[in-house]
Amino acid sequence: MGGNSNVKLIDDNGIRIDGRRVDELRPIKIEAGVLKRADGSAYVEFGKNKVLAAVYGPRECHPRHMQDPSKAIVQCKYNIISFSVSDRKRPGPDRRSVEISKIISEAFEHVVFTENYPRTSIDVYIEVLQANAGTRCAGLTAASVALADAGIPMRDLVPSVAVGKVNDQIVLDLQKEEDNFGQADLPLAIIPRTGEVILMQMDGHLTKAEFDRALEMGVGACKKIYALQKDALARRYAIDKAVDEAEEPAGEQPAEG
């Protein structure tokens, strides 16, 4: 977080530099089943973020000493490609990617019925093709759809979004400039059916009251993203001429609030 910057990112009418209101998501696009080789896949755009996720497994766990005789392990690798950011990033994992991979892996360990597949590994790959703040949330959203596309039983889909603080206001789904000059960032992922939080990080400066407002805004937005996830899977199944199992059919614009 850049801290208490003087850069004006919200105008007097409460409109952000990309035209959104403070509680408005960027345009979101979700597509399931976009790759042939992977067992499951999804493509997601959150504004200018472009993210691809693929799932392989359950398959033999490699290296062997990581096998768990009682359940599958979920191994997520989050990666950003070299030309997805302003200055070319040298290929390969950096410390940030390692941390994000770890917390996303933990989140999915909770939702996947890992006990169904002892000794195996479920491998989730997230590739950020173009980055514009909020990539871990877009990636998690995509990976969740890819897991469903792979037919892996889960407690629920996992929508994810970041809430932040900009010009002393709580705003939803920060884009790049807001992230650079903002005052706080709070990435979240929830289980919609229970409203529980399975991923949460925060950095910057929030009073407890601001946090409460941010959490509320984030949970609400996650429900909208959830509808788009289900819709993407519904379209995918429809294309496959399979039974449409989506509970609430929804268009590109979410059904709820």
Partner: protein, 257 residues
């Protein structure tokens, strides 16, 4: 993945006691283990501290050097935080480059220090764009019995508070203490079934479903958070953990004088 296996007997024991509202070592749910803080442990570091939380033992050192600032912060010193989970401290720690656990630890400690604006980095500028002080904070875990996040943050904060900038030997004027603005304190709690336990031991971490680390400043404002482990947290649980962190944070801050 990140946590070793605990014997079933130990697990049962922890669960049975918790059902009666008790912890294995007799502490209250919101009670830290005995805390020892030994600043200036090392003659060779510019600042250092050895911190024990019960049997968890960490040694933190701060080294300083003169370097060039980052392009986007030409008038600010540079912070760098690293954590080493050396195999001396635990049978589960392995030799080699930092793994996901030590990277997460370092990044959470770093965010607490950085986002609280603990250090007045502008006072560490020698000549804008050309020369600034660089701070290398290295956390070494010597004995591992759970709750590394709080031990390491406390150690890093104590080490930084003891740091004397070695200006004289670098021909940059008189030595001076590191300019400190805020004192961030992290408090970590885990959730086991319906209980919340502050400052978990290693055994408690092993049976815990979810973990939340909350770093606050003197005003009780939130500066950094990190949710961990595969479990989910309800919003009520999150709120209770945050409030506990605000309260205990002040107690710990007083220990730093």
């Amino acid at each position: 993945m990140s946590r070793a296996i605990l014997s079933e007997i130990k697990k049962d024991h922890i669960h049975k006691l918790l059902a009666k509202g008790k912890r294995v070592d007799g502490r209250a749910w919101d009670e830290f283990r005995p805390i020892s803080i030994q600043p200036r442990f090392s003659d060779t570091a510019e600042g250092s501290a050895r911190v024990k939380l019960g049997n968890t033992d960490v040694l933190v050192g701060v080294k300083m050097a003169i370097g060039t600032p980052f392009q986007d912060t030409p008038n600010k010193g540079v912070l760098s935080t690293n954590a080493e989970l050396i195999p001396l401290a635990s049978p589960t720690f392995e030799s080699g480059p930092p793994d996901e656990n030590s990277i997460e630890l370092a990044r959470v400690v770093d965010r607490g220090i950085r986002e609280s604006q603990m250090i007045d980095l502008e006072k560490l500028c020698i000549e804008p764009k050309k020369e600034v002080w660089m701070l290398f904070t290295d956390v070494y875990v010597l004995d591992y019995d759970g709750n590394l996040f709080d031990a390491a943050t406390l150690g890093a904060v104590a080490a930084l508070m003891s740091t004397i900038v070695p200006a004289k030997e670098n021909d940059k004027g008189e030595d001076f203490p590191l300019p400190i603005n805020h004192i961030p304190i992290s408090v970590t709690a885990v959730q086991i079934e319906n209980s919340i336990l502050v400052d978990p031991t290693l055994d408690e971490e092993k049976v815990a479903a979810a973990r939340l680390t909350v770093t606050t400043d003197e005003n009780g404002d939130l500066r950094a958070m990190q949710k961990g482990f595969a479990g989910a947290l309800s919003i009520d649980q999150i709120n209770r953990m945050i409030e506990t962190s605000q309260r205990l944070g002040n107690e710990l801050r007083n220990m730093l004088g």
